[in-house]
């Protein structure tokens, strides 16, 4: 048994196990941590394909930044007690079930056709080829900033709009607070305890 197979097995168990455990964990922080674990598992999967760049980005962005923000929110809002199991939308569960089945079917189809779809039937050799000559950092850069430049830029505009929108919506409009500290003679601004 080669080393690759062992690593793949470990990755498989880790990613899938963490994903399943996530569904059954009660505590929101535990759920977030298990999600981190399954994302690290995915990074290992990318490593096995020789996609070092994607693996590093997976860890930096998802495991390192987004999930830390998740935890930050969970800790800040204190929603780590108990989950509310009511349905805010009627018919949510049947709909979720239907869409879940659809998604599973899609995933299975991709897994079945898999590499053939992406590389026109050349499998392992195609992966080697993609990762070899320019390396996958350059390869991704060429695809992202060449062929898919427009979608890439549109996505970034979308994100900026979302951020600006959140800032506008959450900004409290109170009149400028009178600055009590600076008007008192002899009071240094820095010394005021808040």
């Amino acid at each position: 048994m080669s080393l690759d197979v062992i690593v793949f097995g470990a990755m498989f168990v880790m990613t899938l196990g963490a994903g399943l455990a996530m569904l059954f964990a009660r505590n929101a922080v535990h759920v977030a941590l298990l999600l981190v674990l399954s994302q690290i598992g995915l990074a290992v999967a990318f490593l096995l394909q020789g996609a070092f760049f994607v693996a590093a980005i997976q860890i930096i962005i998802y495991a390192g930044a987004i999930m830390v923000l998740f935890l930050f929110v969970i800790m800040l809002l204190g929603v780590d007690r108990r989950e509310v199991l009511d349905e805010p939308l009627r018919g949510q569960r049947p709909l979720a079930l239907g869409l879940g089945v659809l998604l599973t079917a899609q995933v299975l189809y991709i897994a079945w056709r898999g590499v053939d779809l992406a590389f026109a039937g050349t499998g392992e050799a195609a992966i080697q080829e993609v990762n070899s000559d320019p390396g996958n950092v350059l390869g991704i850069a060429r695809v992202l900033f060449g062929r898919y430049l427009l979608p890439f830029e549109v996505t970034s505009v979308l994100l900026i709009v979302a951020v600006v929108g959140v800032m506008v919506l959450t900004r409290r409009m109170y009149p400028a607070a009178p600055n009590v500290d600076t008007d008192i003679p002899g009071t240094e601004a820095e010394e005021v305890a808040v």
Partner: protein, 423 residues
């Protein structure tokens, strides 16, 4: 020996295992020495003696402390979250070790026909790996704060997640100019690009200042000369990443008792500090690798030629560890809002600006003559200069007065009446 090597999967695997074990042991020893060094240096700066009982100059003090911590009772608070409480110290220590994997600490040596490079793993995305390890390291502090089931640690944990996320961005952006200049994400390539001397400065050739040109032959070709803004940004963000003074808000003892590790004791407590000191060593080593030529040094003798680069690397790294200690002994802690202000409003724009400058200067498109290129560069520099002038002239209101959000007015202000509303 051969049989063992074959069993493990050939000499490559054996070399990898040996490297990992050696790097692990070296980092542990480095931690022991760094803690001792810190206590000695700070004691010296504060006119004290510092540890002087165990071993020569008290160098074994950390070993004694470690043994004490190891045998201490392991206390877990009643409201602590069991699994997360145990996981947090490990998450704090392990990523620091991982980050060292991509730091080249010497040239190479040939053992029995096999070339052994002095780096645990020469990944072609080394710089990104360093950032990834740093971003995972955030979990240690955050989880410790939450899992302790206590107020002060929680405050420390929340502070640290905000702080580390903010400064991680600046840290990542400060590395981009180096990558742009080197055209590679590999730390080995970055060190290789800094070999030799500045050299070929022909500005003074043919004049009486010929000697000045020769002087440039001596100056090493380090990135610090051209990339000093990136270096400053890297160091500030790097110190913030290690949670040390003046950025030690997550464990601010005057406000939060001990912050995220208030409830920890014994070996778990020791793991946090193992992580922190290794992080200090790793950030120092990374600064050396990126800006100070890595293991390149002026003298490489015939006697044991492989040990000289390692020596140069160590000397430079120790200098940076000293800088860390010096800062801790000198600077007071930043206030929380000032920390955020510095991170988001100064470091990130500054690093973006510097990336632009570096990109423009290094761009070399084909089909564009040098004259046009120079004009473009000048125009961009001019625009940036005006921008900087504008920002500096505008200043920041926080530097002049305290901007207070909604809060009850102080009694003193109420006595003063309506006068306070006129600002």
């Amino acid at each position: 020996m051969g049989a063992i090597a074959d069993f493990l999967g050939g000499p490559d695997v054996v070399i990898a295992i040996v490297k990992v074990v050696v790097a692990f042991a070296a980092l542990l020893v480095a931690t022991l020495l760094t803690i001792w060094f810190e206590r000695k240096v700070i004691a010296d700066m504060q006119a004290r003696i510092g540890p002087n009982r165990w071993g020569p100059f008290g160098v074994l003090q950390t070993v004694a402390d470690g043994i004490k911590l190891f045998f201490k009772e392991d206390v877990r608070p009643r409201y602590a979250d069991r699994w997360t409480y145990g996981l947090a110290p490990v998450m704090a220590a392990v990523p620091s070790f991982l980050a060292f994997a991509v730091i080249p600490f010497g040239d190479h040596v040939t053992v029995g026909g096999e070339r052994v490079d002095f780096i645990v793993s020469d990944l072609n995305i080394g710089v990104l790996f360093f950032l990834a390890a740093g971003s995972i390291g955030v979990y240690g502090v955050v989880l410790a704060g939450w899992a302790s089931g206590s107020k002060y640690p929680l405050l420390g944990g929340i502070r640290s997640s905000a702080q580390l996320i903010s400064y991680e961005i600046a840290l990542g952006l400060s590395l981009v100019p180096i990558v742009l200049v080197t055209n590679s994400l590999s730390t080995v390539d970055i060190v290789a690009a800094q070999a030799g001397s500045v050299g070929n400065v022909d500005l003074f050739d043919g004049t009486f200042l010929q000697g000045v040109s020769e002087l440039f032959e001596v100056i090493p070709n380090w990135y610090i000369w051209s990339q000093w803004p990136a270096f400053l940004l890297f160091m500030i963000a790097g110190i913030a990443e290690t949670n040390r003074a003046p950025f030690d808000l997550p464990e601010a003892e005057t406000e939060l008792i001990a912050g995220f590790h208030t409830e920890y004791s014994g070996i778990r407590f020791a793991l946090f500090f193992l992580g922190e000191y290794i992080h200090v060593v790793v950030i120092s080593a990374m600064a050396v690798t990126l800006f100070f030529g890595g293991w390149n040094g002026p003298i490489v003798d015939e006697f044991l030629p492989w040990i000289w680069p390692v020596g140069w690397f160590l000397v430079k790294t120790i200098a940076f560890v000293y800088l860390f200690i010096w800062l801790r002994a000198t600077l007071p802690r930043l206030r929380y809002d000032r920390l955020m202000w510095l991170g988001w409003k100064r470091l990130i724009p500054a690093s973006l600006l510097w990336i632009m400058v570096t990109a423009v200067v290094n761009v070399n498109p084909e089909g564009v003559d040098e004259q046009t290129l120079r004009s473009i560069r000048l125009a961009v520099f001019g625009a940036l200069f005006l921008l900087v002038l504008f920002v500096v002239a505008k200043g920041d209101p926080r530097l002049k007065q305290v901007v207070t959000p909604e809060r009850p007015r102080s009694r003193r202000a109420q006595k003063q009446g309506v006068k306070s509303g006129s600002s």
